[in-house]
Amino acid sequence: MKKLALLLAVIMIFSCFITACGQKDADILSVNIGPEPDTIDPALNSAVDGATLIIHAFEGLMNLDEKGVPTPGQAETYKISDDGLTYTFTLRDGLKWSDGTELNAEDFVYSWNRAVDPETAADYAYMFECIKGYDTATLPATSEDRAPMAVKAIDAKTLEVTLVAPSPFFLEVCAFPALFPVKKDIVEANPEGWTTDPETYIGNGPYKLVEWVNKSHMIYEKNENYWDAENIVSDKIKFVLLEDDNAILTAFKNGDILFADTVANAELEAMKKDPAFKVTEQFGTYYVSFNTQKDPLDDARVRKALILAVDRNYIVDKLGQLNQTPMAAFVPASLFDADKTKNFREVGGDYYSVATSEFEANLAEAKRLLAEAGYPEGKGFPTITYTYNDSSLHKSIAEALQNMWGELGITVKLELQEWNVFLNSRKKGDYYVARNGWLADYNDPVSFLDMWVTGGGNNDAQWSNAEYDKLIKDIKVETDSAKRFEMMHKAEDIIFEESMLCPIMTYVDEYLQAPQLKNVRSSPLGFKYFMYASVEETTAE
């Protein structure tokens, strides 16, 4: 033991000599928004942390302000034709890539067609769905019918985009990373690898990547060629690529990072009182999927009974703990209605009551419905399985649901599945009831509704309703905004007439922001904006 202690001491002393102990660069803003990203290619990225890295190096035609309202980005102005189908964007004067070369409207034409090209195989290709010609542009290169989308460069500064139908959310989509421009010669020289080397990672945003040490950190430096460079505050941002929740918390507490995008679940209770702890609402709903093809869940009365027997206030107060909103519908209140001063929920209302006082009545109704379906007091009801993926929150919700449905006399077996297996079971309909969640990509209710069309890739409920399918199809081509929203409300009505899913609560985004770090913005999509962030010197008290 003596020797062990001696040796350790020697190592420690030795290390101290050859390093300047604990050097910190004061000019760099160190933050953590996630681990090593899978990709930072604007077209290929599908992760929230990846998007944050991308919005610092690129910029789309539009930006989003703190309320999520589109503001001019690379485009200085835009004009929408009277029929709402043609958007004409005028780019700012003297736009440049981070390598100093000129950026023009052609770059958008190239980038958008690249993003939908099957060869690129981008997860987010469907974000371009509202643009005319999407169907032909996504055909394989071998197909004779293949043609580019209706995106034209009228001249170097003017971009004209024609849509399939008036899409009030299109400007917002223009601020989405998948629609950011990429530099043609760079991408074509190395289609997959250009993003892995700071030398070739050329963007048009407020920052440029100057150093990337894999699984360690990325350093972004202010891009002097950016049109609004003078308003960018921090000269350098260091994105520390941390993966482990506890390591992130330690780093934050030690002051090594001033921002942490995740909070270890076990620490929530303790951290909630910390002034650094922040919670924002997202465009998302935590819900439970029923496999509508599986007996006895193929009976809408059974599904409704299960929906009504859930005590959402208990889940939010005791398990979620972050002031999530208990949900009585699928589309959350953060989404606008046709009249943007109202939200979709205010107009659409609730489909059942989530008031604590109403819970007993709901439970009685649930029991009545179950009896009507032929299972009085749950007699004869087969054992059903609730499938979820590993997380302490999902687990505690699963146990709560098991109890709540137990009140109806239903036996629920819990099954924990590894993430990828879980996705597979849900997609293939190989489950009874499963934990589910949806986070929208833009502020329009259709982003919550079009997933339930027959055979849709995200239709985990395996649900099919001809009236619903037609409605969604019509919504996508409807020109009148008021009518369009009316149809979207109708679509949501059908979801609940059929009791096709069981909403639980809204999704929130929790993060830690050091009190001296100011002006960080968080969007409802979960993206974090550090370009205007500054560190205030802490004055000695």
């Binding site: 033991m1 390093t19 102990c21 599908s46 892995t196 507490k253 090594d256 990828n420 995200n458």
Partner: protein, 305 residues
């Protein structure tokens, strides 16, 4: 001996081939796939991805394509980390993991062997009991517990060492220490028991009778005979340690290869699963050949056939 080594290498390559084949088919049997995500891409995108990675072909064809590339030393491109080749992931991650792992094995060896020997020499005495108590603790306490304690004490409270990263020598102290604990404890126990065996041998008594000094008899005569089990253990241990520890690398955020082993399986990144597994198999085979040669050097009585 040359003939023996050639034979061993050939057998080793056969092992690697079997490992690669088994891994290839086993990983494809596991439900799920690399393109599954909470949000499903469009059907056109999925089809394009499947074509790109030959998923539309029968498994046997995919296997043939993979093996042909493998023979050429090409592990393919990661399906998750776009544009990054598996060779690149290994080339960047392995040296980091190898430094941490190698250093910890070296330290474990240097500490474990002397204290194990000493404990055997002082068999039954108080110091022996103390050493074995700590050795048992070292084996029983998992590395993530050690890491967490180190983090809280030396990074949180005392602020001596940085909590993550690997940029300065100071960064190495905690992860290497955490990684050392188990092998040091194991080696010292192994050393103690095999030393006890040797100490009871006739030739040790002869040495003593002939007046060989205590130190010399212990470290010259006994050590050489008793270290063989440690060398046997050290071989595979070295291979497993230098490819990186998932736990340690995750906790201290070390950019090594260890994390890729586990994360590639979770994300069904087939080329990375194959690459890391085949790489580990190659390393194990190589180290085992080296261990055999080391045997021969330590104990000339061993015949390599």
């Amino acid at each position: 001996m040359t003939k023996y080594i050639i034979k061993r290498i050939a057998l080793g390559l056969l092992t690697v081939f079997i490992v690669a084949t088994l891994t290839f088919f086993l990983m494809r049997l596991v439900p799920g796939g690399p393109f599954l995500s909470e949000k499903t891409p469009s059907a056109a995108t999925l089809k394009a991805l499947e074509e790109k990675y030959h998923f539309n072909e029968p498994l046997s064809v995919q296997y043939r394509i993979y093996m042909e590339n493998l023979v050429k030393g090409d592990f393919g491109v990661s399906m998750k980390r776009k544009g990054t080749t598996v060779n690149d992931i290994i080339a960047k991650g392995f040296p980091v993991s190898a430094r941490i792992g190698g250093l910890s094995i070296l330290i474990s060896f240097c500490i474990g062997v002397p204290i194990g020997t000493y404990a055997a020499y002082k068999r039954g005495k108080f110091i022996d009991k103390i050493i074995m108590f700590f050795a048992t603790c070292g084996i029983a306490v998992p590395s993530f517990v050690v890491s967490t304690i180190l983090l809280i004490v030396f990074s949180g409270w005392l602020g001596w060492f940085p909590s993550f990263g690997l940029t300065t020598p100071l960064h190495y102290v905690m992860p290497v220490t955490a990684l050392c604990v188990y092998p040091t404890a194991y080696i010292s126990r192994l050393m103690r028991s095999s030393m006890l065996d040797v100490l009871g041998q006739d030739y040790m008594r002869t040495a003593k009778a002939k007046g060989v000094g205590q130190f010399s008899s212990l470290f010259k005569h006994a050590l050489r005979n008793s270290i063989l089990p440690v060398v046997t253990y050290l071989g595979p241990l070295l291979a497993y340690t230098v490819v990186g520890s998932f736990v340690i690398e995750k906790i201290f955020n070390i950019p090594g290869l260890g994390r890729d082993f586990i994360s590639s399986i979770t994300s069904r990144d087939y080329p990375v699963i194959m690459g890391t597994t085949v790489f580990l198999a190659l390393l194990l085979v190589a180290i085992n050949v080296v261990v055999d040669i080391v045997y021969k050097i330590i104990d000339p009585r061993i015949k390599l056939k």
